[in-house]
């Protein structure tokens, strides 16, 4: 039956070839129709087909349709339309058009100009183009070639979709100061609505609708794989510079707004500053609660990752700025402010920052998170998580946190059981384990001044409702030495990857000096054991296919202590 169908089509298609029918030219973006909703329907419909592919929009060239059908039915052309387990990828035919003299793909085919068609398939998940050379009149597919990491020329309906996504995004509307129409995304000089761009990090299909507002132009990078706006960037019209791409846009945004600029934030009686450092992650500093300074700074100095199956194998990573820094895993997107929920209630807010290796979640790439929680009652927490994937399934992650509480003449005491607190008189460290005593509230340390103002430290033992399973941390206390390089400025890597004992770096600052009448620095190094066991994943990520494209299912392993004001504090 299928063959008969093709025969009929081919007959009419050959006639059409003689008359020289071609696909129509440009289509315009219809802003009155929800193109993203239509697109979702189109994608879902394709994914449910036997051969999961979005076909060409209507064309007057019947040969193009025949060529498309022949290509789609050809095994080599469809072999990567599904994952190994049969899950369909999002695939789309971008064009089917006659081969031209310029097409070197002629070389090993019997095609003459005009009798063969080039059918281009784009696989969004794999970021791959597959080209079939088809001779419709002979019902023959001559050649199929895969081009990994390659993207074909964009068809008009996707250009229209990109303009629609950009024109309806709040970031674009805010940047322009008005809601643009489809015509606004037309560059007068080039008569092209789109600038070419790249999404080098995500390896997604991206284009940049550009809005000219002399003397400037707003580039809006749209990701057509995820169908979202990546970001915007103003440029000066007529000036040549580096092309605006996903990575440059992201790097510039982080660099200009968070690495080179100090920010302040105020909410729920809290006020603090923050900055992205070159190697110590996002640093919160000069934090006040109800007008009283409670914190000089808190930050993450190092990530140590070791693999238990390979002695001495692992990495010591710093996190921070993406351009000019000592960081191995860099910030790509701005910090996020989120509500801190306790059941149905909001008990404060969170500032969260992510860091990516470029290839994450592929093996040997990393994704780290920092989280700072600020509670309405004046408590706060510094926490961090790995989201895998690392170089193995036996990774142990050890982030090195540095906490500098405000105040002088501080005293630190550890909970010794039976409502007793034991003061530390010298710089030292302690490892927490199951035998460590905690107060009934869960506190392990009390850091206070002579007026008993200060904070209890509550280590993580799985009680923070964020998936954390307990910190098993080393706690270090050192005397503040502002004249020495002990963390007032960015610290270089202070410890190697793979020490399994207390030698995680802070011990270098322990002499041990006396802690009498001094300002203290707390160091906190939790241990998180990576687990990929189904149902028990931790510090882990899995790449799953959802709606034809890859998504990341994440299993963060948050760890970090909470600081709770001593009753008479506030």
């Amino acid at each position: 039956m299928q063959r008969n169908f093709f025969t009929i089509i081919i007959f009419s298609a050959c006639i059409s070839l003689i008359t020289g029918c071609r696909e129509n030219g440009k289509t315009k973006t219809d802003f009155n129709t929800d193109l993203t909703a239509l697109r979702r329907q189109e994608v879902l419909a394709a994914l449910n087909q036997k051969i999961p592919v979005i076909k060409l929009r209507q064309t007057d060239d019947k040969n193009a349709e025949v060529a498309q059908e022949l290509a789609i039915a050809f095994p080599a052309f469809q072999k990567q339309m599904r994952a190994a387990d049969g899950t369909p990828y999002k695939n789309e035919i971008f064009q089917s058009k006659p081969l031209t003299k310029a097409d070197q793909l002629f070389s090993s085919t019997p095609c003459k100009e005009g009798n063969c068609y080039k059918v281009e398939l784009y696989n969004y998940a794999l970021n791959q183009t597959t080209i079939a050379i088809v001779e419709p009149c002979k019902n023959k597919v001559h050649k199929v070639i895969d081009y990994p990491q390659t993207q074909p020329e964009l068809p008009q309906h996707l250009a229209a979709l990109a303009v629609y996504i950009a024109g309806n995004d709040a970031e674009v509307i805010n940047a322009l100061g008005y809601k643009p129409t489809a015509d606004d995304a037309l560059m007068e000089r080039t008569k092209s609505s789109l600038n070419k761009t790249r999404c080098e990090r995500s390896m997604h299909l991206c284009v940049a609708p550009t809005y000219v507002a002399e003397p400037k132009a707003l580039w809006a990078i749209v990701d057509l794989t995820d169908e979202v706006l990546v970001g915007t960037r103003w440029t000066e019209v007529g000036k040549t510079g580096l092309p605006i791409t996903e990575r440059r846009l992201q790097n510039d945004n982080i660099t200009e707004n968070y690495c080179d600029k100090e920010n302040t934030y105020e909410k729920e009686n809290w006020k603090f500053s923050f900055i992205m450092t070159n190697s110590d992650g996002l640093m919160i500093y000069d934090a006040y609660f109800k007008g009283e300074k409670v914190l000089n700074s808190m930050k993450l100095v190092d990530w140590h990752v070791s693999y238990s199956k390979s002695d001495g194998f692992g990495y010591s990573d710093a996190i921070g700025c993406p351009f000019f820094s000592s960081s191995a895993v860099v910030a790509v997107e701005p910090p996020e402010f989120l509500p801190l929920l306790s059941g149905q209630d909001t008990s404060g807010f969170i500032i969260e920052q992510s860091y990516w290796s470029e290839g994450w979640p592929a093996p040997c790439n990393y994704n780290y998170k920092q989280k700072f929680e600020f509670y309405k009652d004046g408590s706060f927490r510094i926490a961090s998580a790995s989201i895998g994937r690392g170089c193995g399934t036996d990774g142990i992650y050890r982030p090195v946190l540095r906490i500098d509480l405000a105040g002088d003449n501080q005293i630190i005491a550890e909970y010794a059981g039976q409502n007793k607190w034991k003061t530390w008189n010298k710089e030292q460290w302690k490892k927490h384990n199951d035998a460590t005593p905690y107060s009934t509230e869960g506190y392990a340390y009390k850091i206070s001044n002579k007026s008993n103002k200060g904070f209890y430290m509550e280590p993580g033992r799985g009680q923070f409702s964020d998936g954390g399973r307990g910190d098993n941390a080393w706690v270090y206390v050192t005397r503040d030495n502002p004249d020495k390089e002990e963390g007032h400025t960015d610290l270089p890597t202070i410890g190697p990857c793979c020490n399994t004992d207390y030698k995680q770096g802070p011990e270098k600052f322990i002499d041990p000096e006396s802690l009498d009448n001094t300002h203290l620095i707390l160091w906190y190094v939790p241990e998180m054991q990576n687990d990929d066991t189904p149902g028990n994943q931790y510090c882990w990520v899995e790449k799953v296919i959802n709606n034809g494209i890859f998504e990341n299912k994440i299993y963060p392993c948050y760890a970090g202590p909470k600081f709770v004001p001593i009753n008479n504090n506030l």
């Binding site: 990491q149 790249r198 080098e200 390896m203 580096l242 092309p243 791409t245 990575r247 440059r248 790097n251 660099t255 690495c259 080179d260 450092t277 070159n278 190697s279 110590d280 390979s310 002695d311 001495g312 194998f313 990495y315 010591s316 990573d317 710093a318 921070g320 700025c321 993406p322 351009f323 000019f324 820094s325 000592s326 960081s327 191995a328 895993v329 860099v330 290796s357 470029e358 290839g359 592929a362 093996p363 040997c364 790439n365 170089c391 400025t489 960015d490 610290l491 270089p492 890597t493 190697p496």
Partner: protein, 299 residues
């Protein structure tokens, strides 16, 4: 799977016909190779082995691991992760430190030092220190990023970004005599990685792979190797390859075709260590009629 070093290098000692060009065509085999018991036919110097840090000698027929590491002289891991290896006509080898992932083994204040491996003893030691001094090491942990040897003049070129920062391109390309250690000339305010002396007919140029952009510049060289005029844009790899924003870290001449093979890598002055080999090689050919470099393909 490992993370890759991006400034690494492997230099075969005897198969010089594979890699020619001014960097290697006068390179001699260091006599320490025999002294250490290696058959030079199958030996390479490498800064690319993941099982050891620094320089090592490898037998290319062997596979190495942490339990079976390649040969290292005791001084070869003293300077952390290393980069490009060059050899001179006497067999002395030149390398420099290049931090990767972190600065634990590469003190940022010592990255502007050219190291030399003595051809006879095999001892690696600091040979020349270019203008260093205090700086914000967390902002820029790098110093030298590229070196080239000129077999016509027996002089060298070294690119340093030691004093550069986000807003200031303060890199210097030094021209110097590696024997007398005398600086013969310098190009200021240019951050560069890949360097290679290249001959086009009677003209000699230094090709310069920029560190901030994907551009390759060239500057004419005088008969004594000195810089003539200012660098000019020769070609770019912007938009090419899987990433599109690679920086040129190395050049080779294809001895068979005379084509220029350009090696790119991702580089944003940070310590990202990619988990995929960044081995995008871009083939360019010089069009003598148009006096232009033409992009041929990616390999």
């Amino acid at each position: 799977m490992m993370r890759y070093l991006i400034f690494n290098s492997i230099v075969w000692l005897s198969l010089q016909s594979i890699i020619t060009g001014q960097n290697s065509k006068c390179a001699a085999i260091p006599s320490f190779t025999n002294k250490f018991g290696f058959d030079t036919k199958f030996t390479a110097l490498s800064t690319d082995e993941t099982s050891v840090r620094g320089l090592c000698l490898i037998d290319v027929r062997q596979k190495y691991s942490r339990s079976n590491p390649p040969f290292q002289h005791e001084s070869w891991d003293d300077y952390g992760n290393l980069s490009t290896i060059l050899r001179d006509p006497n067999g002395n080898c030149y390398v420099f430190g290049a931090p990767s992932v972190n600065v634990l083994y590469n003190d940022p204040l010592k990255q502007n030092t050219l190291l030399r491996v003595d051809k006879d003893s095999g001892i690696m030691a600091p040979w020349m220190e270019f203008n260093a001094g205090p700086k914000n090491t967390s902002l820029n942990p790098f110093g030298l990023l590229g070196i080239a040897y000129d077999c016509k003049t027996f002089t060298m070129y070294a690119s340093s970004v030691y004093h550069s920062d986000r807003k200031n391109e303060k890199g210097i390309i030094y021209h110097f005599n590696p024997e007398s250690k005398k600086i013969l000339g310098q190009l200021a305010d240019i951050d560069a990685i890949g360097l290679q002396v290249f001959e086009i007919g009677t003209e000699r140029i230094l090709l310069i792979g920029k560190a901030r952009t994907s551009d390759v510049y060239s500057i004419k060289l005088a008969p004594d190797g000195g810089f003539v005029g200012k660098p000019k844009l020769a070609f770019t790899i912007e938009g090419l390859g899987p990433r599109g924003d690679d920086k040129v870290r190395k050049f080779h001449i294809d001895a068979k075709t005379g084509d220029l093979l350009v090696f790119g890598t991702e580089f944003y002055f940070n310590l990202i260590a990619p988990s995929q080999d960044q081995a995008s090689t871009y083939r360019f050919r010089y069009d003598n009629a148009k006096k232009k470099w033409a992009f041929i393909k990616i390999e």
